[in-house]
């Protein structure tokens, strides 16, 4: 070690702490196929469960005949609602305060709904068993349109709610109505709209889609009848919450339930919810006394677990002639499918949709959201966004463009004159949020300059002239978006899930030889927590990140936390990590002072050591301090060196960004080519730039898919039309654009390290950028708005409707 320089810079570099692009520790196992995902788990005697699913979107279940299935070799049990009812498990509570059938109880409400659970010795026998179960259905009228669902004579979907005029979120005004959620000042907003110079109005639909991580959902449930302990390995983005919910609905004491999230092959919100497969696997394990695995197929995944979006957002935006926005009004009709299983903090039935004033200083606003039942799958998860933030961002970024058209203004300039100014932060929004920090003008100007905005507009104008002159059939669209996210849910005072406050946690133990283990209540699904959280600890207490093991996902060992979704890990668990580290540092300071025989206040932290103030040659390294914590009797101090922090964030964090897309569109075929995609993100303090960049690439690719073709579609009979990856659009490396990333840094003032979270920003920001590019290409011909996804035929139809096909 003596050849190593001891300058603070060199010592700091060796820590691989915050700000460095540390290579990921996870990758050593993943790159050689040694990850441990749920389907990799095998136990002695393990059984496999698979579902009989409904072919109909709305039907009575007249009878279920399992006799033939029970004769299939290897089939051990067929579980239906009748078997679950005595246990009280034929229905389960949803995260949104509704309840959901675990197995069809008298009727089915969407195609693909779970009807019976076949348990067999292996997945082949289970599949044969599923094919042999005979179910008789009596079809009922189907409603897949949320507006038609609210008509007076619409079919009654939820007969179990008959007579219930109040739901979990207030009054229900129709048998298919779930809730109305209102925020803001309706009267004042409508008064502004009535008196405004200009009001732009549009219906903006954010279509139904699906997070579709490459690994589907699944679990292995194992009830050990000897010690009474239930262990469930599964694709859980929130293992502790699953444990508590499992205990509450099963009656098994919480200490007898152990939930383990092994490696997770992507989540994107799909793995937040509790699905019938988990419940059925647990029940099957209790019944058979053997471990039971359930892993859904891709079709199951796309048909039954966790859709996202499906918001019809009617907007009105008011402005002065000069383009200063004076008010915003939004009414959203939210299609929740057959059960309200949206994954939102309990007090927010439409998530944080009230961030829909976006990056703009809008003095008055009003938002109302009506949740509606239809014959579609339940879900409503935050697909790589924080609880409906992507819907909100898409809405406002489309409304800005629509307003720019009404005003005849450049949309970049319209944004600039309405941005919340740097000096207005912390900023109170008209819909109730306190934005922590931001510098939108700086980001915007940097972005426009980086892409050469004026030159692009000139090129676009030339192309338009060429098009009109018959020299080309390709148009250029320049898609702009400036988004503000709201992540890091959240303060316990207003954020909870089923009553569990949305704090998060970290426990750090320093070993005698100076290495450490940290455990968190979160769980990585690819975000690289084991890499980045160790970096936070490295910087905070001066132990090299390479000497820190990080563990998540085992409820028997990790401190309680609410899990990983909504970009909350860095803002909440990252803060807990820093705070736990600071507790250790405080104790280390006392130990160092004792060892150096000075007063506590006379030592100061210096990268990886405490040194006597004014005498830096007198120091104790963290390694020495750690050893002392275990081998010296220090007056007034307990032995050991560990700490735990439960962090209740004082506020959300508000990452933001400026995204610009340049797209070429073939007017005759509806095909497109992304020529440039520039993404500037401001996520506050940057922990690992390499990982941030990777998150931006991935999120923007999801946004590209959503904007340009990815959808969950149903026909009028409620048949699911996009149940395989042939029709559910996931772009390959060939279609996916190249991204240019950039950043500004505006730290969060309330976060211990100033970090804001980034994982979801690129999905939130890129969807409007791609969509606005399509719209922008056709703006000269009079296009105001056209719904996503902008797949070939829908883009072609824009051109057709504008008369561009001659």
């Amino acid at each position: 070690m003596n050849d190593q320089s001891n300058t603070p810079e060199d010592r700091s570099t060796r820590l691989k702490g915050m700000g460095c692009s540390r290579k990921r520790v996870e990758d050593v196992r993943f790159t050689q196929g040694k990850g441990n995902y749920v389907d990799d788990i095998r136990m002695d005697g393990m059984l496999f469960g698979d579902f009989v699913r409904s072919p109909y979107a709305h039907a009575r279940v007249v009878s279920i005949d399992s006799a033939a299935a029970m004769k299939v070799p290897g089939v051990l049990a067929v579980i239906t609602a009748k078997e679950l009812e005595p246990l009280g498990l034929h229905w389960m509570p949803t995260l949104a305060g509704d309840k959901q059938m675990v197995l069809a109880d008298g009727k089915v409400l969407f195609q693909g709904q779970e009807v019976a659970f076949v348990v067999a010795t292996d997945r082949y026998a289970a599949s044969d068993g599923v094919a042999a179960v005979e179910v008789e259905y009596d079809e009922l009228p189907v409603v897949v349109d949320p507006f038609k669902a609210l008509e007076p004579d619409a079919p009654v979907l939820r007969e179990d709610l008959a007579g219930q005029t109040t739901g979990a979120h207030g009054p229900r005004r129709h048998h298919n109505h779930i809730f109305t959620w209102e925020v803001g000042d309706k009267e004042a907003t409508e008064a502004v709209l009535a008196g405004a110079d200009v009001v732009a109005e549009e219906m903006v639909y954010y279509h139904r889609t699906h997070p579709s991580p490459l690994e589907t959902c699944g679990c292995v449930a194992s009830m050990d009848k000897v010690n009474g302990k239930l262990t469930v390995w599964g694709t859980f983005q929130a293992p502790h919450a699953v444990r508590t919910v499992a205990s509450l609905i099963s009656g098994i004491a919480e200490h007898n339930i152990r939930i383990i999230s092994p490696d997770i092959g992507g989540g994107f919100g799909n793995k937040v919810g509790v699905y019938p497969g988990y419940i059925c696997a647990i029940v099957a394990s209790i019944v058979t006394g053997k471990p039971v695995k359930w892993v859904e197929s891709r079709m199951d995944n796309l048909m039954a677990t966790a859709f996202a979006r499906d918001y019809w957002m009617k907007g009105r935006i008011a402005a002065t002639k000069a383009g200063k926005i004076t008010g915003l009004w939004c009414h959203t009709t939210a299609d929740h499918g057959g059960f309200d299983a949206c994954a939102d903090p309990s007090k927010f039935p439409a998530g944080f949709m009230n961030i829909c004033t976006g990056s703009y200083d809008i003095p008055v606003a009003y938002l109302a959201v009506d949740g509606v039942y239809t014959n579609k799958a339940p879900g409503g998860v935050a697909y790589r966004c924080s609880f409906r933030v992507t819907e909100a961002a898409y809405f406002i970024e489309r409304m800005i463009e629509v307003l720019a058209i009404r005003l005849g203004m450049d949309a970049a300039e319209l944004r600039r004159i309405n941005f919340i100014r740097k000096d207005q932060f912390p900023y109170q929004s008209a819909l109730g949020w306190e934005y922590d920090s931001g510098d939108y003008h700086t980001a915007w100007d940097k972005a426009l300059k980086a892409v050469g905005y004026d030159a692009l507009r000139a090129e676009q104008a030339q192309r338009l002239a060429d098009f009109k002159a018959g020299k080309t059939r390709r148009l250029i669209g320049i898609g702009l978006a400036h988004f503000t996210e709201i992540v890091g849910a959240g303060p316990v005072k207003n954020c909870d899930i089923l009553g569990l406050g949305m704090f998060d946690s970290c426990e750090i133990r320093i070993h005698p030889t100076g290495s450490a283990i940290a455990r968190l209540g979160t769980i990585s699904q690819g975000q690289g927590h084991a890499t980045t959280f160790a970096q936070i600890i490295a910087s905070e207490i001066g132990i090299p990140a390479d000497d820190i093991t990080l563990e998540e996902g085992d409820t028997d060992t990790a401190p309680y936390g609410l899990g990983t979704y909504g970009s909350r890990s860095t803002p909440v668990a990252g803060a807990a990590t820093a705070m736990a580290a600071r507790k250790i540092r405080a104790k280390a300071q006392m130990i160092a002072a004792y060892l150096l025989e000075v007063h506590d206040d006379d030592v100061e932290f210096d990268v990886d050591r405490f040194a006597v103030k004014g005498a830096p040659e007198r120091f104790k390294t963290m390694k020495e301090i750690a050893f002392a914590a275990y081998n010296q009797a220090i007056p007034g101090l307990e032995p050991g060196l560990e700490a735990v922090s439960y962090y209740d964030p004082p506020n959300m964090t508000y990452p933001f960004g400026a995204y610009i897309c340049v797209m070429e569109i073939d007017v005759d075929t509806g095909e497109h080519e992304i020529r440039m995609f520039y993404a500037l993100d401001d996520c506050g303090t940057r922990i690992n730039p390499m990982i941030i960049e990777g998150q931006v690439h991935g999120g923007a690719t999801e946004g590209y898919a959503i904007a340009m073709g990815q959808e969950i579609a149903y026909d009028e009979m409620g048949n699911h039309k996009t149940a395989t990856l042939m029709d559910f659009f996931i772009p390959t490396s060939w279609e996916t654009p190249h991204y240019t990333t950039d950043h500004t840094v505006t730290p969060s003032p309330h976060h211990p390290i100033g970090a804001k979270g980034v994982g979801e920003s690129p999905n939130v920001g890129s969807v409007p950028a791609f969509s606005n590019a399509v719209h922008d290409a056709f703006r000269p011909f009079g296009l105001v708005h056209s719904h996503m996804p902008h797949d070939h035929w829908r883009v072609w139809k824009i051109a057709r409707d504008l008369g561009l096909h001659g």
């Binding site: 990758d27 050593v28 997945r123 082949y124 490459l214 990856l725």
Partner: protein
């Protein structure tokens, strides 16, 4: 259905097992042989997570019956590590260039890249993107995967030149 006696060479080792004819190769690898690097992502031969190398071809093992593979030489991602257990060139470059996040597509992706670079040792970026288009990734947006493969090509070519 009577079971078939299957023999394969997997990652250089002769292996055998019994399987129903309908057993998909991916299940035989993962459940009978416990080679769990290749994953199941879509089951309809779109995603490529199950990609293995079979007789010198990149193959989606979810769409091959084990009988069709009888006697085949198979390489999976586990077989691409160096003899000393260290990461192979492509594996190391995926790590170096952050070409993976959740890791679920990675075994198929790396196994495909291995065959692709055998066939096209000095590809352009466009050729990499076209040659890797049978493997879906939901996390990375592919940009760093492409970077990792281009870097691997350069490194493998430099090593070849040095050896010659």
């Amino acid at each position: 259905m009577s079971k078939m006696h299957i023999t394969l060479t997997v990652n250089g080792t002769a292996v055998e097992g019994l399987a129903e004819p309908r057993t998909l190769l991916i299940h035989f690898l993962r459940e009978t042989l416990r080679i769990t690097g290749p994953h199941i992502g879509c089951e309809t031969s779109h995603c490529g997570a199950c990609t293995i190398d079979m007789n010198g071809k990149s193959v989606k093992s979810c769409t091959v019956f084990v009988g069709q593979a009888q006697g085949a030489e198979i390489t999976t991602v586990e077989g691409l590590v160096n003899a000393d257990g260290s990461l192979g060139v492509i594996q190391e470059n995926f790590r170096e260039h952050h070409g993976l996040q959740c890791g679920f597509c990675t075994p198929g992706m790396i196994t495909r890249a291995h065959r692709f670079l055998q066939e096209n040792p000095a590809p352009t970026e466009a050729e990499v993107r076209f040659g890797m288009a049978g493997n879906l990734c939901r996390c990375t947006g592919y940009q760093n995967i492409v970077k990792a493969i281009l870097a691997s090509a350069a490194q493998l070519n430099a090593a070849k030149e040095a050896a010659e």
